[in-house]
Structures are given as structure tokens and as C-alpha cells.
């Protein structure tokens, strides 16, 4: 097949020279595309509750944010095992130790958590943000004006950086030692992770615990867990630390 493609850099970066993570997008790499986002109130946290039926036919990546403190948001790590996604829906798993109502904000992404993917490492050398003229790309959401000043109205925008997926996969079910997965990026990358304790039929948010965590350095993603679990990981082209 003939090779076609497109890429655009972030504001102020030279598209032909910049690092992968300084791109707004590249047709070489998938991005974290939002299928659905919204707020949900769990009316009785002791009981199970369906949150959203996605019907994607696969288990999608998802994020959940805790809005328990009114007017504030943080990742819902404290409720990580209460959110479970399968191939049809995102659900709340009731917890007898909790009480009352809780409000959360969630994202479901068009990405199968069982996908094994490794993107090419084209350029990881950090460049300087300079002035290369007023070029770029912006794509408005359906029904939104291309002149909008609200970045929420855009699918993609060169004035913004967005998570570019470098690598995804699943490890498990046995962890006699922590799994070391080379990522070849040369810097410690940003990542996200989910855990399955039912043979990959569903996944939950995974928060750090003494036995279960995911970390990264310049060479590896390190994944530690207990036996009979699977960890789905997603590595982004974005350095945690550089220089």
C-alpha cells in the first residue's frame, strides 16, 4: 500500500523536527478518542447501578473523576474498584461500607482495552517552542463554530496538546515478579492502567496499592499485581520527566 499520512505540530513547534509528543496528531499514532462523557450520581452507594450503556462490543478504556466534594474534581482512585466496564456498559459496584449518594464524572473512549499495539518511535528529542508562523489545524465538533474561543467545542486543536497513544497491551494472570515491558521511548512516559479479576471479561480502574501498581522509567513500564489478575496498560507519548 502506498504510504499516505498527515501530521500537525503543537503551537510553536516545527512539524518536521519536533518530538513525537510535541505533535497535535500524526496519522502514525492513534489518539484517545472520546465516545461519551457525562456526570452520574450514584443514588445509593451500597447498591449496584448501571451508569452508561455503550454497546461497543468490546471493553473500552475509561476514566472516572470523583466529585464528592462539591465543585471539585479528582481522579476517582478512592473508588477504583467500584467502577467496572465490560463489553456493553459502565457500572457501579455497590459497597456496603459506603453510604449515601456520590457524584462522579466519567469518560468512555474508543479504545479496546485488550488491544496489543506498539507505535513507532520516530523522534523523542525535545525541541524548543519558537515562532514558526501562525499555522495549525482545528476541527470543530458537529454544530459548533470553527470560530469558537472555547476549546471544548473542538475535536482537535493545534493550540492544545492531546494524549497520543504509544503502546497498549495486557499482562497477566501470574505475577511471580513484576512485569517489565520495554517501551523504547527513552524517557519515563505518562501511562494509565486498568485491572481485571474475572479473566478479562471486565476491567476496573486500578489505583496504587502495596501489591498492585504500574510505574515507568526511561526504559520500562513496570507492572506489579497479584496472581489471577490481568492489567491493561496504555502508554502515551508524553514524558513524565525530561532533561
Amino acid at each position: 500500500m502506498t504510504t499516505f499520512g498527515a501530521k500537525a505540530s503543537q503551537l510553536g513547534y516545527e512539524v518536521d523536527e519536533c518530538a513525537d509528543y510535541e505533535l497535535t496528531f500524526s496519522s502514525e499514532f492513534p489518539m484517545l478518542k472520546i465516545e461519551h462523557q457525562g456526570s452520574v450520581t450514584i443514588t445509593d452507594s451500597k447498591q449496584n447501578q448501571d451508569i452508561y450503556t455503550h454497546n461497543l462490543g468490546y471493553i473500552p478504556a475509561f476514566w472516572v473523576f470523583d466529585n464528592k466534594d462539591s465543585g471539585k474534581s479528582r481522579l476517582a482512585n478512592l473508588y477504583s474498584y467500584n467502577f467496572v466496564v465490560n463489553s456493553t456498559k459502565l457500572s457501579w459496584v455497590g459497597d456496603p461500607s459506603l453510604s449515601g449518594a456520590h457524584t462522579f464524572y466519567y469518560f468512555i473512549f474508543r479504545w479496546n482495552l485488550l488491544t496489543e499495539f506498539t507505535g513507532a518511535v520516530i523522534n523523542t528529542e525535545q525541541t524548543s517552542q519558537g515562532s514558526y508562523g501562525d499555522y495549525g489545524i482545528k476541527v470543530a465538533k458537529s454544530g459548533k463554530s470553527i470560530n469558537s474561543l472555547d476549546y471544548r467545542d473542538y475535536v482537535i486543536h493545534s493550540n492544545c496538546k492531546s494524549p497520543i497513544i504509544h503502546m497498549t497491551g495486557v499482562v497477566g494472570p501470574y505475577f511471580p515478579t513484576c512485569a517489565l515491558i520495554p517501551h523504547y521511548l527513552g524517557y519515563a512516559p505518562l501511562f494509565f492502567q486498568w485491572i481485571s479479576d474475572d479473566n478479562k471479561n471486565s476491567f476496573k480502574l486500578m489505583a496504587k496499592s502495596p501489591e498492585e501498581y504500574v510505574g515507568s522509567d526511561e526504559t520500562y513500564i513496570i507492572i506489579c499485581s497479584i496472581d489471577n489478575t490481568y492489567i491493561s496498560y496504555m502508554v502515551f507519548k508524553d514524558p513524565m520527566y525530561i532533561g
Binding site: 496528531f25 502514525e28 489518539m31 474534581s73 479496546n112
Partner: protein, 145 residues
């Protein structure tokens, strides 16, 4: 309204038949975005050391930055103890040991990164060594509440 849009497939997929999952960009599916043109920056690295000493139970601030969106956005913070690989680069909130927690919140104006001390009843704890911490934060334009 006429239908306009953009669709860019990944290598090896025909753009005319590619599913959203087989596309790098698809105008039906927005991506999370972090504004690059804001001051102070909406992403960055924070280094902080908790000095050794005695700490009473409570919440202590590490870092505050103003995003000024006027609504509660989505934000992610990664961080941990620089001295131990297994305690680095994890998404907050998280615990380091039994009594020290790292947390954050974002509201309609600021992002705040904090640590918490919980002695589980004794009222205070003693840290017998400095704890160097590093964080990376991302404030998205998407709603978070």
C-alpha cells in the same frame, strides 16, 4: 446543516472504511485537550520536599496553580516519592506508607496538590527523613464535573 468533517486513518487502514478505532483523528470523536497558550501553564512538573519533623494530622498544601477556566475541568496528577521506583509516577490520589497520602483537586479556578497526614488516632507522626516528591500535572479543557 451540511455534513463536514475530517477522518485520518492509521497506517494500513483504508480511510473510506476505517472504524473510529482505526483512525488517528475522527471528527465525530473529540480528544482530551490541554491548552498550550495559557499562563501559568496548564501542565508542568513540580518538585517538593517534605522536611523531616513532626506533623499533626491534617492536609498540607504543596502547590497551587490558577487555570482560570471558570468551570471545573478534568485534571490528572502523577507523582510520588523520588527515592523509590515503585512509589514514583503513580496517578494521585495515592498513599505512601501508612500515614502519608498525596492528593489533589481541581475546582473552577485552581489546581491544588496536597499531602495528608493521618496518624490513625495518635494525633501526629514523626518523619525521620526528608521525603523528596515529584509531580506532573495536566489540566484539560474538558469538563471534569
Amino acid at each position: 446543516m451540511s455534513e463536514y468533517g475530517i477522518k485520518i486513518s492509521l497506517p494500513g487502514y483504508d480511510v473510506k472504511t476505517a472504524t473510529p478505532e482505526q483512525c488517528a483523528v475522527h471528527s465525530d470523536y473529540p480528544v482530551p485537550k490541554i491548552a498550550m497558550d495559557k499562563t501559568p501553564s496548564h501542565f508542568g512538573i513540580v518538585h517538593y520536599t517534605i522536611p523531616k519533623g513532626t506533623y499533626v494530622d491534617g492536609t498540607y498544601n504543596i502547590f497551587v496553580t490558577v487555570h482560570g477556566w471558570g468551570y471545573v475541568p478534568t485534571a490528572l496528577v502523577y507523582g510520588g516519592n523520588d527515592l523509590y521506583f515503585g512509589q514514583q509516577n503513580s496517578p494521585l490520589p495515592l498513599s505512601i506508607g501508612d500515614s502519608l497520602g498525596l492528593t489533589y483537586y481541581v475546582d473552577d479556578n485552581i489546581l491544588s496538590i496536597d499531602y495528608t497526614i493521618d496518624s490513625f488516632g495518635s494525633g501526629s507522626i514523626v518523619l525521620d527523613a526528608d521525603i523528596p516528591l515529584t509531580f506532573k500535572y495536566y489540566i484539560f479543557v474538558e469538563d471534569g464535573a
